[in-house]
C-alpha cells in the first residue's frame, strides 16, 4: 500500500498535475483498494481538520502583511538602509544582497516572495557592478533561503502545527542559524569579489546614512513587532501576524500614503488566492498523512526500511535532514513538511531530540532543497522573474550549496546556535 501510494504520487507529480491531485488521488486509491471498509468522507473530514488549527491563521496574515509592504515602500527602504551602510566594503553589493534578503525575511515568511522582492531591484545593480549573472542569481536564490529561517516563517508555522511544536520557540530558534548563514555568505562574497577583483561601490557619507536610517525607521518596526513581541512573550505568533497587518496598513496607507484604502480589497483577494493555493495543499497533505498513519506506514518506513536507531540521535537527525532536503529538490516545501513531518515525528521524539532543534534543521533543509536542482521551486521562480535559462540560473549555486551544507553540519554539531536564544527567551 505504501508503495502504491508513493508511486501514484510521484507519477502524477512528474506528469505536471496540480500538487493537490497526487496527494488526494494517492489517498483515495488507498481507500478504494486497501481500506474499503472506511467511508471516504473521512478524507474530507481530514482536509477540513487540516486547515482548522488556529495557529495556521498566522500564515494568511503574514502573507497579507508582506503583500501590502511589497506593494508599498517598505522593501525599498530596507534595501537602501543596508546599502548605505555596507555597500562600500569589498564585496559590499553581494553582502548587501544577502543582508537585505535576511532583513526582508523578517518581514515576509516565504523564500519565493523574497526572490522576487529583493531580486528584482538587486540583480541589475549586481550586473552593473561587474558580477556575473550566474553568481548574482545564485546569490539571490540562496540568500532568500535565509528568509525562511528568520521569523516569520511559513514553513515553521506549518511544521509547528503538524508536529505540535511551539511556533514561537521555532521562530526564535531560527534567528541564530539565519544570521550564521548570512555571515558565511558574506565571507564568501568578500573573497569572491576580492579574487575576481571587482571594484567597490562609493562610500556614502553620514548624512546620506542618516537619511536612509530615518526612512527605514518605521519599516524596522516589523522585526520589532514579530521578533521582539514573541521574544518578550507579549504576542503569540498569530497575534504578531495580526499586529503586522495592522502596522503594514498604518505605514503604507496612513503614513506613506503609497497605497489607498481602495487598494486593500484587491490585495486581500491576491492574499486570499495565495492562501487558498497553500491551504488546499495543507488540506490534501492532512488527508494524505492521515491515510499513511492509519495504515501505520510511518513506523514501518522508519523502523524497518530506513532502520533508524533512536539511540543514535545524530544519525536520526542526519537521516531526517536528508529526507527533507531530497524531498524539496522535487516538490514545494509546504507539501514536504506536511507529508514527512508525521512520518519522522515519532523517531525524533524517541531519539530524545529537541523538537525545536529538529524543526529548525528541517526548515533549513527545505530552504536548501528548494534552491537545489533538479526541481527546487525557487529556481523556477527565478527563471520566471529573471527570464534566464535553467542552466544559467543554477550554474553559480554549488559554492552556496556547500556553505549551506556546512551550516547544517555546524547546526547538528552545535545545537546551541539555534537553541541559545530560545533558551534565553523561554526557559
Amino acid at each position: 500500500m505504501a508503495t502504491m501510494m508513493f508511486v501514484t504520487m510521484i507519477i502524477l507529480l512528474l506528469l505536471g498535475f496540480p500538487l493537490m491531485v497526487p496527494l488526494l488521488a494517492a489517498a483515495l486509491l488507498a481507500f478504494v483498494f486497501y481500506i474499503p471498509a472506511l467511508d471516504p468522507q473521512i478524507l474530507v473530514q481530514q482536509m477540513i481538520g487540516g486547515v482548522k488549527p488556529p495557529a495556521l491563521i498566522a500564515v494568511p496574515l503574514f502573507i497579507f502583511a508582506a503583500d501590502i509592504m511589497t506593494r508599498g515602500l517598505t522593501a525599498n527602504r530596507l534595501l537602501d538602509l543596508v546599502m548605505s551602510f555596507i555597500g562600500h566594503v569589498r564585496g559590499g553589493l553581494p553582502i548587501t544582497t544577502a543582508a537585505s534578503c535576511t532583513l526582508f525575511g523578517a518581514v515576509s515568511g516565504s523564500t519565493q516572495a523574497t526572490v522576487v522582492a529583493m531580486g528584482s531591484p538587486l540583480r541589475p545593480r549586481l550586473l552593473k557592478a561587474g558580477y556575473t549573472d550566474s553568481f548574482s542569481m545564485a546569490l539571490i536564490i540562496n540568500s532568500s533561503d535565509i528568509a525562511l529561517l528568520i521569523p516569520p516563517s511559513i514553513g515553521m508555522i506549518v511544521y509547528g502545527v503538524v508536529s505540535g511544536t511551539s511556533v514561537g520557540e521555532l521562530f526564535i530558534a531560527g534567528i541564530g542559524p539565519g544570521l550564521l548563514i548570512l555571515m558565511l555568505f558574506s565571507v564568501y562574497c568578500y573573497f569572491y569579489s576580492r579574487i575576481k577583483n571587482i571594484p567597490t561601490q562609493e562610500r556614502r557619507d553620514w548624512s546620506e546614512r542618516g537619511r536612509a536610517l530615518r526612512a527605514a525607521l518605521l519599516p524596522m518596526g516589523f522585526p520589532v513587532i514579530v521578533v521582539g513581541g514573541i521574544y518578550a512573550g507579549t504576542f503569540s505568533p498569530t497575534e504578531a501576524a495580526a499586529v503586522s497587518v495592522a502596522y503594514a496598513v498604518l505605514l503604507e496607507v496612513v503614513i506613506f500614503r503609497q497605497l489607498g484604502w481602495k487598494d486593500i480589497p484587491d490585495l486581500a483577494v491576491s492574499t486570499g488566492m495565495i492562501t487558498a493555493v497553500v491551504f488546499i495543499l495543507v488540506a490534501a497533505g492532512a488527508a494524505f498523512s492521515w491515510t499513511l498513519s492509519y495504515a501505520q506506514i510511518p513506523s514501518l518506513l522508519v523502523n524497518d526500511i530506513l532502520n533508524l536507531d533512536p539511540s543514535q540521535p545524530t544519525m536520526v537527525l542526519i537521516a531526517v535532514c536528508a529526507a527533507f532536503f531530497v524531498g524539496c529538490m522535487f516538490v514545494d516545501p509546504i507539501v514536504v513538511i506536511l507529508v514527512l513531518t508525521p512520518i519522522f515525528a515519532p523517531i525524533i521524539q524517541a531519539a530524545g531530540i529537541d523538537p525545536v532543534l529538529a524543526g529548525t534543521l528541517i526548515t533549513l533543509q527545505v530552504a536548501i532543497g528548494s534552491a537545489t536542482p533538479p526541481f527546487g521551486c525557487d529556481i523556477f521562480t527565478a527563471i520566471a522573474v529573471f527570464k534566464r535559462p535553467y542552466l544559467e540560473v543554477i550554474k553559480g549555486s554549488p559554492p552556496f550549496f556547500l556553505i549551506l551544507l556546512l551550516a547544517t553540519a555546524l547546526l547538528i554539531s552545535f545545537p546551541q546556535i539555534a537553541l541559545f536564544l530560545r533558551d534565553l527567551a523561554f526557559r
Binding site: 512528474l14 468522507q41 494568511p60 499586529v243 491576491s270 488546499i280 526541481f375
Partner: protein
C-alpha cells in the same frame, strides 16, 4: 459551435469570478479584523474574544475551498512543470487535457464526499462552541468550492479543445506571466 460554448461560459465565468473574489476579500479582511480585535481585547482589556478562533476557522475554510476555483481560473495552483515544459506543443496540449479531465473528476468526487460530510454534520446537529453557528453551514463551503474548482477544470478542458494554444486554465495560456506582483509568487 465550440466557440459559442466558450463565449457563453466566459460570461458566466465572469460573474462567478466576481463572487469568488468577494468571498476571498471578505475572508482575508475578516480574519484580519477578528485577529486584530482579539489582540486588542487580550492585551489592552485583558479579555480574549471567545469566538475569535471559531470565526477564524470558518473564514479560513471559506478562503481555502472557495479559493480552489479562483486559483484554478488564474492557473495558479502549484504544479511541478519541469518535465511538462520540455514537451512540444501538441503532447503538452494532450497532457493538459488529460490533467484537466482527471483533476475535474477528482474534485467532483471529493465535492460529493464533502456534501455527504456536510449533510452528516447537519444530521448530528453540531454547532460551534461560542457563537452556536451550525457547523454544517461552514462545512457546506467545501462541496461548493470543490465543485466550482471542478467546473474550472472542465472549462480548461473545453478551452483546450476549442483553441490552438495550450491553456493552463480557462483564461490563461501556458507561459510565464511576469506582470503580477511579487508576493503572489508564494
Amino acid at each position: 459551435m465550440m466557440n459559442y460554448l466558450v463565449r457563453i461560459m466566459a460570461m458566466a465565468d465572469k460573474s462567478m469570478a466576481w463572487l469568488e473574489k468577494a468571498a476571498l476579500a471578505i475572508g482575508v479582511i475578516g480574519m484580519t479584523l477578528v485577529s486584530v480585535s482579539n489582540v486588542f481585547m487580550r492585551n489592552v482589556l485583558g479579555e480574549s474574544l471567545t469566538f475569535a478562533d471559531e470565526l477564524n476557522q470558518a473564514l479560513i475554510i471559506l478562503v481555502t475551498f472557495l479559493g480552489v476555483g479562483y486559483a484554478a481560473r488564474q492557473g495558479r495552483h502549484i504544479r511541478m512543470t519541469a518535465l511538462f515544459d520540455q514537451l512540444p506543443r501538441l503532447p503538452r496540449k494532450i497532457m493538459m487535457i488529460v490533467i484537466a479531465a482527471c483533476t475535474a473528476a477528482l474534485l467532483f468526487l471529493l465535492s460529493w464526499y464533502s456534501l455527504d460530510y456536510a449533510l452528516h454534520t447537519r444530521s448530528v446537529g453540531s454547532v460551534t462552541p461560542s457563537l452556536q453557528i451550525p457547523l454544517w453551514i461552514i462545512y457546506a463551503v467545501a462541496p461548493i468550492g470543490l465543485a466550482v474548482g471542478g467546473v474550472q477544470y472542465v472549462m480548461t478542458l473545453i478551452r483546450n479543445l476549442a483553441s490552438h494554444d495550450v491553456y493552463i486554465s480557462f483564461t490563461h495560456t501556458d507561459e510565464y506571466d511576469t506582470s503580477h506582483s511579487p508576493t503572489q509568487e508564494i
